[in-house]
Point group: none
Chain length 149, copies 2
C-alpha cells in the first residue's frame, strides 16, 4: 500500500526521485504519468492505470462532450515513464508545466493507496489553504460516520 507525503526537488534535467518507501511498493519499473484532477500529476502502476482508463473509456462515447473532456484531460496526456537506476523518473516538460512544477523546484509526492500524486510545493500549500473549510466539513462528516459504527 502506497503511503506517505514526501518533499523532493526536481533537478535541472526535470528528474524527480521517488522516495524508496514508495518504490518498494510498486512492482516493476514502469509507471504511467498523467494530469490529475486539481493542479497535480497522477502516477499509476500499469494495472491501476488500466482500471482508470477502462472506466473512463468504458462509459464513453466520443460524441458526448463530458467524455471528450475526460479523455482530453486524463487519457490523452498520459505518458509511460521508467524508473532509472537511481530511482528517479524524468517528467516530460509539458506535463511538468501543467502542474506548475518548476525545474529545480520542490515537489510534494503523495502515496494514496494504489497511486501517487505529484504537486508543486507552493501549489499544494495553496490548495490546502483554499480547501481548509471544506476539509473541516469533510472531517466533521467523517466523525459522524465513525461514531455510528
Amino acid at each position: 500500500m502506497l503511503m506517505g507525503e514526501y518533499h523532493n526537488s526536481i533537478d535541472d534535467k526535470s528528474r524527480l526521485l521517488l522516495p524508496s518507501r514508495l518504490r518498494t511498493e510498486v512492482a516493476g519499473s514502469t509507471l504511467i504519468l498523467t494530469r490529475g484532477v486539481d493542479k497535480c500529476l497522477w502516477l499509476f502502476p500499469p494495472e491501476q492505470w488500466r482500471r482508470i482508463s477502462d472506466s473512463i473509456m468504458g462509459s464513453s462515447s466520443m460524441f458526448k462532450s463530458k467524455t471528450r473532456l475526460l479523455q482530453r484531460r486524463i487519457i490523452a496526456p498520459a505518458q509511460e515513464c521508467e524508473i532509472d537506476k537511481s530511482g528517479r523518473i524524468s517528467i516530460p516538460p509539458t506535463l511538468r508545466e501543467s502542474a506548475e512544477m518548476k525545474l529545480k523546484g520542490e515537489a510534494v509526492i503523495l502515496g494514496i493507496d494504489s497511486y501517487m500524486e505529484l504537486w508543486d510545493i507552493d501549489a499544494y500549500a495553496d490548495y490546502l489553504q483554499e480547501s481548509e473549510t471544506d476539509f473541516m466539513e469533510a472531517a466533521e462528516e467523517l466523525g459522524e460516520l465513525l461514531s455510528l459504527q
Copy 2:
C-alpha cells in the same frame, strides 16, 4: 486505555520518546503516524488506523473532491513507525514540519482513549487559548445533555 498529558523533547535526530505509561497500553511496537485535524499529529495503533482509513477509502472515489481532500490530508501523510529499543519513535521531517514541531523542541503528547496526539508545545498553548470560548460552549452543551439523562 491511553491517557495522560506529557511533555517530552524531540532530539536532534527527530526522535521522540513515548512515555512508558502510554507504551504499556499499546500492543506491539508498530504505530501509524499521520497528520491530525488541527495543527497536530495523530498516532494510532494499527487496528484503530484501519477503522479510520477504511471508512475514508471505503466510500471513496478519486473523482470526488471531498474524498481527495480526506485522502490528501489524512491517508497520504500516514507512515508506519516502529518504537525503538529505548521506546522512541522517529518522526519523518515532512510530518514534523506540518505540525510545526522543531528539532530539539518541546512536544506535548496526549493519550486520548484509543490514540495519541503530538503537538508542538507553543502551538498547543496557542490552540488552547484560541479555542477557549468554543470550549466553554462545548462544556455548556455537554452539561445540558447530561442533565437530561
